[in-house]
């Protein structure tokens, strides 16, 4: 962004983007589908044995509530919850916790007015929140990887029998960064390692948590890794130490997973004719004072 003003405007634009994936619908009679029935259907269709224990399940609201509409999201922020309610979607299917910890107990924020206000918002708008992360991410091939590739225009380049490897038309790293920045609308969260003019041909896509074992096993077969959330004492210094240098492009967790959440909406829609199913995005949570 040229100026801080335009960056700020961009922030608000990005925050209010509603990824509507369905054609406008004519208001239908209220569905008789409950949240419990819908999530039961998801469990049936997911094709992965249900795990116990799992972080997946209801986190807020009543399972018996009638579903008026469904919104998928990576991060169920207050803004996402408000937009879902405004669109008439009372069931949220989310990848990440609502109350800041996987225990959903608020952690250090539990006695805080922000935590209380978020809980009150959910109650007042009669929202139901169901977390669907472990099982969505257990599908093979990985939905988040395929959706990220699709968002980058690379679906046709997937290497068969390889986990998250794509052979793209050769491109310089700086050109690749521009492509990623534009396609995924990353703001301050985009960070990279490598040499700007290095050629990139084979890429590992690693949305979400980019851990060391999966990086060590796949990066030797690639020029670059497009990461979600790599730890800066794990995958980051590993890539930094490679000779000749390899590249790492870190997107941030939310940006890397949002295409997958949109794919999840499309998948749920395919077996849920009763109600509209949309995907809501938060976008990159970060801005940079330097860009």
């Amino acid at each position: 962004m040229a100026t801080t003003r335009s960056r700020r405007e961009f922030l608000w634009t990005a925050a209010s983007t509603l990824a509507v994936c369905t054609a406008p619908r004519v208001a239908a009679a209220p569905s008789e589908l409950t949240a419990a029935e819908l999530t039961g259907r998801v469990r049936e269709k997911v094709g992965v044995a249900w795990r116990t224990p799992s972080v997946d399940g209801f986190k807020a609201g009543r399972a018996e509530a009638l579903v008026t509409g469904i919104a998928t999201a990576v991060l169920p922020t207050v803004d996402v919850l408000r937009r879902a309610a405004a669109a008439g979607h009372n069931l949220l299917i989310t990848q990440e916790p609502t109350f800041y910890t996987s225990a959903e107990d608020g952690g250090a924020a539990a006695s805080d007015p922000v935590y209380a206000a978020k809980k009150a918002l959910i109650d007042e708008r009669h929202l139901v929140i169901w977390r669907f992360s472990d099982h969505w991410n257990a599908r093979r091939p990985n939905e988040s990887v395929a959706a990220l590739a699709n968002a980058l225009g690379w679906s046709a380049y997937r290497l068969a029998d390889a986990d998250g490897l794509y052979r793209i038309p050769e491109v310089r790293l700086d050109t690749l960064l521009q492509h990623v920045r534009t396609r995924l609308r990353v703001r301050g969260g985009l960070r990279w390692l490598g040499v700007p003019d290095m050629p990139v041909r084979t890429v590992v896509l690693s949305p979400g948590t980019t851990d060391l074992p999966s990086t060590v096993s796949r990066l030797p077969h690639a020029d670059a890794i497009i990461a979600g959330e790599p730890r800066e004492w794990e995958a980051v210094p590993y890539v930094l130490d490679t000779r000749p240098r390899k590249a790492l492009v870190s997107l941030g967790r939310v940006v890397s997973l949002e295409p997958g959440a949109a794919a999840c909406a499309a998948w749920v829609r395919s077996f849920t004719p009763e109600v509209p199913v949309d995907s809501l995005t938060t976008g990159d949570p970060y801005w940079s004072p330097l860009s």
Partner: protein, 261 residues
């Protein structure tokens, strides 16, 4: 004086400060022979290959690093044995007869924590330290945009990330080292740290607080931009009781490229 002797002196100094050496700790030798005679000591935020090259070229054959050498907290290498990046790093260490020791857990136990002291110093926060609250700084009222720009200028960090309204006013800053940022309580406007998860960290809380009209922000410096300077403090500390060998801070530096690559 051997590397082992230096570590013994560190342990003695900690004991004199009431800090007993922990039975379970990542603070161990990571590579090289502890019996090696020390020609010079380098402290650093992270023993990257580049840091090791610079240490070796400067004649500092004993590297004291805050973060791991082999890409995981426990520096476990079994899964890396066949990896060429690991092999080349290990070979470099052996060829140049370097010795690497990690000083993480016990460095954070010192009071004040030198990793926070170093970070506060480079950020210009030291004069604003709260008298009563640890790692809290109360600055004259400013706006988030101004604070973030000032931090970027002072650290030379190329990939500082900010979550929060650029126009929010702030006075109370919590500063944490390395991974995770201090909790955004009602008494903290901005929490600053190295790196933090986007879920289960504080960023999503800051987004919610902002949406609810209670401005809060998070600034992530990057792990090295957070802790490298702390190892400068550790070098100073070592000079107080390890004499006879040069002790130099060799920063690992900002690993990430400029925002527009």
């Amino acid at each position: 004086m051997t590397a082992k002797d230096v570590v013994t002196r560190i342990q003695q100094r900690l004991a004199e400060s009431g800090i007993a050496w922990r039975a379970q700790t990542v603070d161990t030798f990571k590579a090289g022979r502890p019996e090696t005679t020390v020609r010079g000591i380098a402290t650093t935020g992270m023993a990257t290959l580049d840091t090791l090259r610079r240490a070796s070229a400067a004649g500092r054959n004993f590297v004291i690093t805050h973060e791991p050498t082999f890409y995981n907290h426990q520096d476990q290498t079994a899964a890396l044995e066949q990896d060429t990046t690991y092999q080349a790093k290990l070979r470099f260490i052996q060829d140049h007869r370097l010795v690497i020791f990690r000083l993480h857990d016990h460095a954070h136990m010192l009071r004040p924590d030198p990793l926070v002291v170093g970070s506060a110093r480079v950020l210009g926060l030291t004069p604003y330290a709260s008298a009563s609250e640890r790692n809290v700084y109360v600055v004259p009222e400013t706006r988030l945009r101004a604070l973030a720009s000032d931090i970027a200028r002072r650290t030379g960090g190329r990939q500082i990330r900010v979550c929060g309204d650029p126009d929010m006013k702030l006075t109370r800053i919590a500063l944490g080292p390395g991974y995770g940022v201090p909790p955004l309580t009602q008494a903290v406007d901005v929490s600053i740290g190295g790196e933090a998860p986007e879920s289960g960290g504080q960023a999503e809380y800051a987004l919610d607080a902002q949406a609810l009209g209670r401005a809060r922000a998070v600034i992530l410096l990057g792990h090295m931009m957070s802790e490298d300077w702390g190892m400068h403090e550790v070098a100073e500390w070592l000079r107080g009781f390890v004499t006879g060998v040069p002790i130099e801070w060799i920063p690992a530096g900002e690993p990430f490229g400029a925002p527009r690559g």
